[in-house]
């Protein structure tokens, strides 16, 4: 690049984390944004007039979902296109718009080159990857995909022999990292994730307080505010309506119990990934466990997993990443930044 060009072109790097429930972007202009991975299009002209937009995203889309054709394009971590009856075209368009929105949120300048690394779920299929790249290429100069757990680990400079636990809403993804692209045998996906905790918590509350009325949103809200697996935790006191009248309940015990339920399946999964690994490095692997994803914000979870590992696997060390929401995006940003110029050029 000549000096002449340097003057008007800055280079904006983007790291994007495409998640089932949340899409986050971290950019080299300091912008960090996140949007719920929902996309909606007005069902008819009336709805369009009313909403004054052609497409809605995130919480906005959820709010108006009844008047929208509503998509969660990344459900199950990949573009929903597995079966014919799924509206493939619709999901594709939604994914495309969601990625464009993520890029827009980063507020790139027109006179800058934009290079993006997108962390896609490790199990994404080839045609899903192509769709993601297609969508991004419309708005950026050059784009690369990498696996999301790799991005998380790279962001923290944990380059090899790492176990990543990513606790999302729908799935817990366990991934053994040794190299850049985990293979199928390096991964285990569990469904005992955030939504599962909500469900269990709801059941326990209903059993203990049959008179209380609540929705899954209320339960999730309480969980996100107080979630902990520790013996000593802040009392989870919340108001729930009883016959329409707000009434205080102490939900500490059911919440702790629900949160603790995700520990055993995770440790079991880790055990599997460890035991099928080169014996020489098994111990190293057990001591390099990264805890990421929104669900990792349950207080004390790192300790609880570590203790369970000691009990069943003899040893273990778990580190919770500091910014669970932006862990993937930050890592992808770092990869984008570190990538040599000629690579970006070739993919243009």
């Amino acid at each position: 690049m000549t000096d002449e060009e340097n003057k008007d072109h800055g280079v904006l790097y983007l790291g994007i984390d495409l998640g089932t429930s949340r899409t986050s972007v971290s950019a080299s202009n300091g912008v960090r944004e996140t949007v719920a991975s929902y996309v909606g299009y007005p069902k008819d002209v009336v709805a369009q007039k009313l909403l004054k937009r052609d497409v809605l995203f995130g919480a906005d889309a959820v709010k108006h979902r009844l008047s929208l054709n509503f998509y969660r394009p990344l459900q199950h971590g990949v573009l929903k296109a597995s079966s014919k009856e799924d509206d493939y075209e619709g999901n594709l368009r939604a994914a495309r718009d969601l990625i464009a929105e993520a890029i827009r949120m980063a507020q790139p300048r027109k006179d800058e080159l934009v290079y993006a690394v997108i962390g896609a779920p490790a199990q994404a299929q080839i045609n899903n990857k192509e769709a993601i790249i297609d969508a991004a290429r419309e708005t950026v100069d050059s784009v690369m995909l990498c696996s999301e757990p790799f991005a998380v680990a790279y962001g923290l400079d944990w380059l090899d022999d790492v176990l990543v636990i990513d606790i999302g809403a729908g799935t817990v993804d366990l991934c053994r990292m040794h190299g850049t692209m985990p293979e199928d045998t390096d991964q285990i996906t569990l469904t005992t994730a955030g939504d599962f905790v909500d469900e269990e918590f709801g059941k326990l509350v209903a059993a203990a307080h049959p008179e209380a009325q609540f929705t899954v949103q209320m339960i999730r809200g309480i969980k996100e505010r107080f979630a902990s697996v520790a013996d000593e935790m802040e009392r989870a006191v919340a108001e729930l309506p009883v016959k329409g009248k707000p009434t205080e309940f102490d939900l500490t015990d059911p919440l702790r119990e629900a949160c603790r339920k995700i520990v055993p399946p995770i440790v079991e999964g880790l055990g599997e990934l460890v035991s099928t690994f080169d014996p020489e490095f098994q111990s190293r692997l057990k001591n390099r466990v990264l805890l990421a994803g929104g669900g990792s914000m349950i207080k004390g979870l790192d300790n609880a997993i570590q203790q369970e590992m000691h009990r069943t696997l003899g040893e273990g060390k778990v580190v919770r990443i500091e910014e669970p929401i932006y862990g993937g995006a930050n890592g992808a940003l770092k990869i984008a930044h570190d990538m040599p110029e000629e690579y970006w050029e070739q993919l243009k």
């Binding site: 340097n6 080299s28 912008v31 790139p108 300048r109 800058e112 790249i133 190299g179 990538m339």
Partner: protein, 357 residues
């Protein structure tokens, strides 16, 4: 010429503590207000300082701030000013400095900062600043804290529109806001007036039915036709006495009829004069409302133009001017390079497959 009274450090002991400097600023500001001399306030923020700090650590943040402070001192060599840190930003008060002077200081500072060759980890970084200014306007009633807030708004605006710029939030915006309020209030008042007058007019036109014929008109002075009407009345009465019946009752009835007719006509004249007057007033008010409304629309259009300019903003600049790549002193350089190459190759494959299909 005095030297600047500054304490930009949040840890070192200067001659004054930052709190004391703030107190001095407040005094200086109040003095400028009282004696009506100009004063300006600059708030300087380093663009994307937080992300620089995230990426390169606390030391680089301090380093950049110090470089900017140095630039500021160089820019203001010949003015006396007070300065201290304010939420990680640089707050300065310049007494005896009007809009023109402060603009030139800010513009120079922007230029110097742009030219700063700042490197960390051997990488060239953009270290631009956003500057917000508040300028004291005459008769300002703002307290110092509010004055600072104005500069905060300005700097926020500068940062949000991409940084590397200077925004004055003097006067102008506040004046527009104030004018807008005043126009609004005035238009409101006029509309109220018009409604009141119209209601009064309606009441009056329906009044004759309620009033006895002999009650004088409630409103309005006697119309100008007064003298002529009086002599007409006198003539009519004289005619009744001259030609009328000798029956006193009939005579009384005749005279009453004449008087009634007279009063009725006079009333009508008074009411229609009052109505005409109201009509004129209503017209006048309507014209004023229209004019103000026009002004209001113009102001509104101007405000929304400014707002769209904001929406049209060019985005936020990246901290990088050039493509980066791994720096040569990176930990585990070789390993990282290999990993990045693998990712690149996988993506190249993907692209090739796609091109083929």
């Amino acid at each position: 010429m005095t030297t600047a009274t500054v304490n930009f450090s949040e840890t070192d002991d200067g001659l004054f503590t930052p709190e004391e400097i703030r107190q001095l600023m407040r005094l200086e500001y109040d003095r400028a207000r009282r004696y009506r001399y100009p004063a300006s306030l600059l708030l300087v923020a380093v663009d994307r300082l937080e992300s620089l700090q995230d990426l390169y650590g606390w030391e680089s943040k301090e380093e950049i701030l110090q470089a900017v402070i140095k630039a500021l001192r160089a820019t203001t060599r010949d003015s006396d000013f007070l300065g201290c840190m304010h939420d990680g930003r640089i707050l300065t008060v310049f007494p005896h400095t009007d809009e023109k002077a402060i603009t030139s200081i800010a513009t120079r500072l922007l230029g110097i900062c742009r030219a700063l060759d700042f490197r960390t980890d051997g990488r060239a970084l953009r270290a631009t600043v956003s500057i917000g200014a508040a300028i004291l306007v005459e008769d300002s009633e703002l307290e110092f804290e509010h004055f600072v807030e104005i500069a905060e708004e300005a700097v926020t605006f500068a940062l949000a529109s991409g940084g590397d710029r200077f925004v004055r939030r003097e006067a102008a915006d506040d004046v527009i806001d104030r004018l807008r309020d005043e126009i609004d209030a005035e238009a409101d008042r006029l509309v109220q007036d018009r409604i009141r007058i119209q209601e009064a007019a309606e009441r009056e036109t329906s009044a004759p039915e309620i009033a006895s014929p002999l009650t004088p008109p409630i409103l309005g002075t006697r119309p100008h036709s007064g003298d002529a009407a009086d002599s007409e009345l006198a003539k009519a009465i004289a005619a009744v006495f001259r030609d009328g019946s000798a029956d006193p009752f009939a005579l009384e009835a005749d005279i009453l009829a004449i008087a009634e007719e007279h009063v009725r006509r006079e009333r009508e004249a008074a009411v229609s004069a009052a109505l005409a007057e109201h009509g004129k007033q209503v017209d006048l008010l309507e014209r004023r409302v229209r004019k103000l409304k026009g002004l209001l629309d113009e102001t509104g259009a101007e405000l929304s133009r400014i707002a769209t300019l904001k929406g049209l903003d060019s985005g936020i600049a990246s901290i990088y001017r050039t493509v980066q790549g791994l720096s040569p002193d990176e930990d585990r350089l070789q390993e990282k390079r290999e990993m990045l190459t693998l990712i690149f190759e996988a993506n190249l494959d993907l692209q090739k497959k796609k091109r083929r299909s």
